[in-house]
């Protein structure tokens, strides 16, 4: 199945928006691990603009946003 991975904010420095093929039943956490972003870049994921539940499974056509948590002051 195909999903779209969209970097948001500072994550754009490390990856571009991409459409990828992923196996059915994969969790968003597994996809995050496969991206190999710098460990010091704390991120959260949004599935279709909502915070996913732990181990939430991704479906065909979903939009996975990877959002940096570096906040300004």
């Amino acid at each position: 199945m195909k999903i779209t991975i969209i970097p948001v904010g500072s994550v754009k420095t490390f990856m571009n928006e991409t459409i990828v093929n992923v196996p059915a039943g994969i969790s968003y956490e597994d996809i995050l691990k496969s991206l190999k972003l710098p460990k010091s870049l704390r991120t959260i994921a949004l599935v279709n603009n909502k915070r996913p539940n732990a181990k939430q499974v991704i479906h065909d056509g979903d939009e996975l946003k990877i959002v940096s948590l570096i906040m300004g002051g």
């Binding site: 904010g9 420095t13 010091s40 949004l46 915070r51 959002v67 948590l69 906040m71 300004g72």
Partner: protein, 623 residues
Amino acid sequence: MYGNTGEILLVDLSSETLERKKVPEEYYHNYIGGAGLAARLFWDWGDFKAQPVDPGSLLIFMNGPFAGIRLSGCSRGSVAGRSPLTGHWGDSSCGGHFAPELRFAGFDGIVIRGQSHRPCAIVIEPENLRILPADEWWGLGVFETTSRIRAKFGKRAKSLAIGQAGENLVDYACIVNDNHHAFGRAGYGAVMGSKRLKAIIVKSFEQNYHAADPEGLDQLRRSIDLKIRESVTSQVLHENGTAANLEGGVHTGDVPIKNFRSSFWEEMAEALTGSTLSEKYLKNKAACAFCKIACKRVVEINEGPFAIPKGPGPEYETIAAFGSMLGSMDLAATCKAGRLCNDYGMDTITAGSTIAWAMEAFEKSALTLEDTNGLPLKWGDMKTVVDILLPQIAFRNGKLGGLLSLGSHKASLQINKGSGEYLTTSKGLEAPMHDPRGGGHGLALTYSISHRGACHTANPMLFMEMGACYYPEIGFEYELEPMSEENKAESALLAVQLGAIENSSCYCQFADREITIPEWVDLFNFSAGYNWTIENMMSAGLRVFYLQRLLNFRFGLTADDDSISMRLLEPAVDGAPEGVPVEFDSMKKRFYQLARLDEIKGIPDRATLDSLGMSVEASYVWN
């Protein structure tokens, strides 16, 4: 004494006297410096009955022990006193270049009381301390004042100045260093204005810093600076400023929209984010003293209704306060509004939030055309904000300018009509541009328990919730889920101690994220010779946190004041935090238990104060 000079400058503007005064050495060990030491000095010397703009009020500028070390982020300064905006104890910090220059001139701080009979300026040069008439600067904005100061004292002179907002006693007037850096929050520009003090100028001859262990400090400073320079956060901040991740914040629900009524606006995210500012308007990057991050922006806008000459650009807080908060995604307008606030000398967070409150009040008829002198207040109408509202507020012109110059809390009390429901405050201070519902539920707790009111820099809770720091030596070694109450009270107890340490040492919260707890202890010991253990350092942080609460208790605040506007707790209606409740009451209850705070008085019990060597202070609040 090492690091610190051990001396402050005591100024009485009524009698026009300046006096060097020694500060007891144990005060530095017990209260660190900066915000903590200022609280201690007010406890000793302050008049609790004096209103913030009375001649008898104290205005205290205080350095931390690190000011002057060639290390990124460590040379900020604090100002403190009774806040004109909130009426209780508060403080504000500022980067820039004033604090190290004051240290090099021989002083850890300046304590000012009294009221000059005419506009004046304090001039601090080694062996040449004086008060000058400043009639010719009165009525000028910050930029022109600073320009004249440089013309008179040379470009190396560092200054603090107020603009027209401070002179006119706008309750959230700020104090500006070298045009670009502000003691922004809580209204201390109005205290300067009430004392007819237009500026403070400092100029040293030598950059001497007397460390307890110069070699140890030099080695430590180099290794910390390298970590800071190489961190991902620093690189992101350097490239795109403090608004670098505004876009990300919109997606997590951290960025407030239209007076915190919405948590998601995708189109605005890209329009206002730091990379867009870089692409469209950035001319240079600038830095505070000795800082390698250089997150400050210098911008220029050549055309359009919000054209501005090359000069100081907006921080994240300013962009959000004059952008998303007002329903606008006009980045140029945020630059112009920020520039005006710098020149008038007004806090951008309270200014933007107060205007947002007024826009909602107008939309819901709590404010009418009669109240606004026929001026409609509409979301996103930045021409009105920039051309009419900000000047009216700074000069307290007309009914509307006068009302909004009070800040949203007092303005709401004045008009009533249910407008308290549109507030976004704690203890009378407008919340910064981080929405606890999306940014992290722990922020709701730490906003409410902050001594100055809703504040994200009183402690590092924001960074702890986003996973930007871990401190295993003091038990903070877990990841927090931002949108949950789990472990938030426990984390907040560490956060208030760390925040007191940061704000008393006057360290930048972006830069110091790379510093480990053992390195913090070494920094204090190598620079100021405090000879601390980790436990000593954390106790000092806790002591400062408690003293600030005792001050507020003596100003009449109790546990009930550790609250926050309902707007910041209601489940969000859209975006990532949609529908997620904030369990505020249970977090607060748990925090009170952990911090041993009395459920009625909101202050620590006597035994806790005794254990920190605060028995004398306890006798003032426990009979």
